[in-house]
């Protein structure tokens, strides 16, 4: 049986990957379809700066979680 740590790790990897893919698509749209170059740069920088802070914090919190104690039965 997989450990709780592995299950949570896989689920988190899926979530993390989905967030990164959506973020990449957003940046792609901003650069490809923006009407002005400056607005595109500003929008993308703002989006990426906050996104990186949020995702980095999220990952830090996740790896500090006591994963093995979260499920009532851990193997």
């Amino acid at each position: 049986m997989p450990s709780a740590q592995l299950i949570f790790g896989l689920l988190y990897a899926l979530l993390f990957f989905s967030y990164v893919v959506v973020a990449l698509f957003i940046v792609y749209h901003i650069f490809r379809y923006s009407l002005k170059r400056n607005s595109a740069l500003f929008g993308a920088m703002l989006f990426l700066a906050v996104f990186f802070i949020l995702i980095f914090t999220n990952a830090l919190i996740f790896f500090s979680l006591p994963l093995n104690t979260l499920l009532p039965y851990s193997y």
């Binding site: 749209h29 379809y33 009407l35 914090t57 999220n58």
Partner: protein
């Protein structure tokens, strides 16, 4: 009505095409979406700040970190959703140029419709403002009746619809008189 159009370009723009107006939906349209996002953000912040006061047992246990993790995940979701909403609003745009009207309709990330209409095909233009808030804030729809099989071209929830209507009518008349002038010149040359 139009936003600042200097330095504005769109991907489908012709070489010598000049943009007269860039029109997005009225800001009230996105405000309603952003209010929901703001409300969720405030709820998250409030729960983060005040929940430990009301439920001190949550803060005392090791599961407090799990609670913070869930909140952080929701914040990422809200941030992405906010930008997706903004993309849906900002890339939904109408261009009025010296040649035509171009409508670019962005639906989410993966649907992008582009339609255009030559001024020579414009038959009638109608501006409609309906409701209390649209009347106060002066936004509404502009319907362009065309001669082709697609009967109507609609500018949805745009600011100052009567001014948009006037611009289209003026350019349409200019296009018609230009066409007439060219026809007369061709006949005179014969």
């Amino acid at each position: 009505m139009p936003q600042e159009i200097s330095n504005c370009r769109f991907r489908e723009q012709h070489e010598n095409e000049e943009i007269f107006a860039v029109i997005h939906r009225h800001w009230f349209n996105i405000l309603t979406h952003f209010l929901i996002i703001l409300l969720f953000s405030l709820l998250l912040i409030a729960s983060f700040l005040f929940l430990p006061f009301f439920f001190p047992e949550i803060a005392a246990t090791e599961n407090a970190r799990f609670f913070v993790f869930i909140e952080s995940t929701f914040f990422i979701f809200i941030w992405l959703f906010g930008f997706l909403t903004w993309i849906d609003y900002y890339f939904d745009v109408w261009f009025i140029t010296n040649e035509r009207i171009v409508n670019i309709e962005q639906k989410g990330l993966f649907v992008r419709q582009i339609s255009e209409l030559d001024f020579s095909r414009v038959q009638d233009v109608t501006a409609t403002v309906e409701g209390v808030i649209p009347t106060v804030l002066n936004f509404g729809d502009v319907h362009v009746q065309t001669a082709g099989e697609k009967e109507r071209f609609v500018f949805r929830q745009v600011p100052d619809p009567s001014r948009v209507k006037d611009t289209i009518m003026r350019l349409s008349k200019n296009s018609a008189s230009e066409g007439l002038r060219k026809a007369v010149e061709t006949i005179e040359r014969r």
